[in-house]
Amino acid sequence: MLPAEKIFEDKIAREVRIEPKDWMPEDYRKLLIRQMSQHAHSEIVGMLPEGNWITRAPSLRRKATLIAKVQDEAGHGLYLYSATETLGITREETIDQLHSGKAKYSSIFNYPTLTWADIGAIGWLVDGAAIMNQVPLCRASFGPYARAMVRICKEESFHQRQGFEILLTLSRGSEAQKHMCQDAINRWWWPSVMMFGPPDDASPNNQKSMQWKIKRFSNDELRQKFIDVCADQVRVLDMKLPDDKMKWNEETQHYEFGEINWTEFWSVVNGNGPCNKERLDARKKAHADGTWVREAAAAYADKKNHSSHIQ
């Protein structure tokens, strides 16, 4: 082992954060770039399904909330893109990788938001799963990632609460509203459960990531935690999670749950979900449409620089 590698491993063992200019193994850098940029892309693409309902939110209160939430997600994307850049990849490269399909984002955002209740289900389940994932990442071994996550986690809890409140309101409403609430839960439940990624034995990066203390819990551990929490919370809504096999296991002190459809998961990851094309097209269009703004701002800054030099 090289002396630098020894120092690195020693820092990991002693829970000392790794900072951008510290020596790190190439694989550590690569794994982080992959995970962090994917995370950033998810925040950004994640604005699209919710943005779909901003103009049709049922009240001014809901609308203001939804705008604030979506704006937070843009901020989360930015914190993470900035943190990723400290690893030596430019913003443009990361964004190009998203647009070319080389980099992935969370599959959950390839599902459509069909009714207002979906906004509630996303807040409760999708943000809920994200929080479950993100809280342990506040202790990730890479400093800029951990610091970005601390900031993000502070902001996330309102996202989940506003979502639950939407569902709670619907669950106490008319028959049609109750039905809408249950329908949204039915459609978002399994994709949310899949957000934790493939099972541990099918996830090669999982182990590396845990060994380097980027992740602190495995996919399956986090998934189980999420299911346990939601199985209790859904009772407050007087709704059901769409899983006949779900039941409390006294021995393990966990909920048992039914088979996850991994074929669907991989099919969506590989581009065949209901909205993959729409989401990516929307991202690319927004980027292309913004070109003149970026150019104009750059030209203006350039001009100001020139004139200040002449004076």
């Binding site: 200019k21 913003r91 001009k303």
Partner: protein
């Protein structure tokens, strides 16, 4: 004026925020912006959406010079053997008060 691609034109800025009167500005993160004013406005929108700040500094990242981590040992070495810089280094009798 030479034509740059937009990516080259928007430099990276480091953002420092004073959270309350009386405290230091502290590094909050970074962002890309065409100029200082845009950096300032973006920093406000990104880092102070919940009243996290009352004052912002932005500085282009290229202007920051950092000490090298692999030279940290020798660079900070001068402070290592100077225990006499701490109050506990001095042996004084217990009956001496208010010192």
């Amino acid at each position: 004026m030479e034509k740059n691609t937009p990516s080259e034109n928007w430099p990276l800025w480091e953002v420092f925020i004073r959270t309350r009167q009386g405290l230091d500005h502290k590094h909050a993160g970074s962002l890309h912006a065409a100029d200082a004013q845009m950096a300032m406005e973006n920093a406000r929108d990104v880092y102070t959406r919940r009243n996290e700040g009352i004052s912002i500094w932005v500085v282009e990242s290229i202007h920051i010079h950092a000490s090298a981590p692999d030279e940290a040992g020798s660079f900070f070495d001068p402070a290592n053997d100077k225990v006499y810089r701490y109050p506990t280094f001095y042996n004084l009798p217990d009956e001496l008060k208010n010192i």
